[in-house]
Assembly symmetry: C2
Homo-oligomer: 338 residues x 2
């Protein structure tokens, strides 16, 4: 398969479509000076024959785009670090952009990308609007997705983490310490990673024969404030939890503050577990027990894959989930220690 | 001045040097196929006549390089955010690199930069090795420095913060709360920004008529561990300080942990002030009182300046220091509250 696909040339497409080679190039470059009917015929053939754009540079890829929704989270820098590491070694520049969930910003970025002749795109947790996705496909630039929110087309390579197993591990750790009332601050429901963590939490409780108590589950959005609000609500219950699992480290820091404000202490009065293992987890006081997802490694794998695609090679597996692992620090202890 | 300088052309330089235009181009592009004597004569003329490379792209700059030593600090993402914001709006790609203080990595980056025809370079806290600096100058790519560590040539525009005033403000805040024994965790002595913060601390004490006590000053390196070690040493003194000013937020979080380990509380037993105002300062428990340096704004200014230079314009002022300001949160209180 791989060798057949990589042999598809512009010349062959032009011959089959009954147009000139420059016309196929114009279609590939998203130029407007091609009749709509011709464009459709050529695009259809490019897709059906599995044409894949090689790097436009004779010496191989030069530039790869790394696209975030926002650069406002500390995990962004961990992914940048992983991607940059691989790209730097390969002699490729990493162009970092934020599209702020705004179609106008995404279109501006797309315009830049075309002008720069980018060799590949790594989308991070991206929910690019469908017209932008369509335009990207039309440009035939290789795309991979890191930390997928779900919704990526099945043929786009995605790199994520075992979120369900991580949710389970966090819950099992708290159960093993003797906790029975374990609160949960969930991430946004629309994101697959956050649903998987919730399901892992639920599965851990069920396996221990503990009935889910909906009062112990509060909604969050991965940001600090929602962790503080959720933690506060949980601690104000008549029968508050003895431990709280937050679906992101940033929310776990919000829970810390809720615990402090209520006059309690972590872990003496309340155990806290996070999810991510940002550098900040080691810097919090007490250091945070958390589920590590290998963000830099995720970035490295995504980077290697987009370089393979840009060189006309295939990737081994379109969907990769890297293992999460529990890192036990000082924010968890048996209940009722105080 | 500006208009004269921007009129210097390759043709004029070639005529004056008595060589062909392609020879001048080869010198500008760092190619090796130019006789050493010719290269020197042309480089000398380019420098003396103030030749400045315009963007090699007819539509203006396309790519700017943003270069860090390491991508391991949360303030990196704040600077990236500011730079990306300006570049995105200008339709320019931001290539992010880390050179890890390794000459080989810096040379590899330089090679990529040349191949990509980068239109400008923003160095962050950079101590690039002198051969790399020399090569950059030879390429005539505009360079600006953000968060200078000192040592940048006088004609390189630099963007920093008023570190001395920030150190003073932190110390005055603690004095105004009634503290007299104020510990200090210093940053690396080799960095100008960190010397300025130390001098501000010293000036604040002197203005209040308090003699410097060398026992209250410990060395750090801006990283978390050194804040923990320094904080621990200060709290183990026979007459420990009632407040500690750390020269970076990350070190302040280390001090938090030292306070917690010693069985004390922030701010009841020990007040803590940081420096940076990372997002993490709002997320710490208690939220950290700290000196804000406008990192994103620093990145934005550096970005606008490098774009001006890349378009053949001058920048207004070669050295800009943005104002720091104290942000009071919950980690500081009068002494002896507990």
């Amino acid at each position: 398969m791989a060798s057949n696909r990589s042999k598809v040339t512009i010349t062959a497409i032009a011959r089959e479509a009954g147009v000139s080679v420059p016309t196929v190039s114009r279609v590939l470059n998203g130029r407007s000076d091609v009749a709509p009917g011709t464009r459709e015929r050529v695009e259809d053939l490019l897709r059906r024959r599995g044409y894949r754009r090689r790097s436009s540079h004779p010496l191989g890829p030069r530039l790869v785009d790394l696209v975030f929704n926002d650069l406002d989270s500390p995990w962004a820098v961990e992914i940048i670090r992983g991607v940059e590491d691989v790209m730097h070694a390969a002699g490729v520049g990493t162009v970092v952009s934020a599209v702020h969930r705004e179609p106008a910003a995404a279109r501006q970025w797309l315009q830049n990308l075309r002008d720069r002749a980018s060799d590949g795109v790594i989308l991070v947790s991206s929910d690019l609007d469908s017209s932008v996705r369509h335009e990207l496909r039309r440009l035939n630039v290789p795309i991979v997705v890191a930390d997928s929110v779900g919704g990526a087309p099945l043929d786009t390579p995605t790199f994520g983490a075992t979120n369900w197993a991580g949710g389970l591990a966090a819950t099992e750790h708290l159960l093993s310490l003797g906790h029975r009332r374990i609160g949960f601050v969930a991430g946004p429901r629309a994101m697959m990673c956050s649903r998987a963590r919730s399901d892992g939490y639920r599965a851990g409780l069920e396996a221990a024969g503990i009935a889910m108590d909906d009062a112990l589950v509060v909604d969050g959005d991965f940001y600090h404030r929602s962790g503080f609000d959720g933690g506060t609500a949980l601690l104000e219950l008549d029968d508050p939890p003895t431990a709280i699992f937050a679906s992101s480290d940033t929310m776990a820091f919000g829970v810390y503050e809720a615990v402090r404000r209520s006059g309690r202490r972590v872990p003496d009065d309340v155990s806290v577990v996070g999810f991510d293992d940002l550098q900040e987890a080691r810097w919090s006081s007490p250091p945070l027990t958390t589920v590590r997802q290998p963000l830099a490694e995720m970035g490295m794998l995504a980077a290697r894959s987009v370089l393979r695609l840009a060189s006309g090679e295939d990737v081994e597996s379109p969907r990769v989930e890297l293992a999460t692992s529990l890192t036990v620090r000082e924010s968890t202890a048996p209940p009722g220690r105080s």
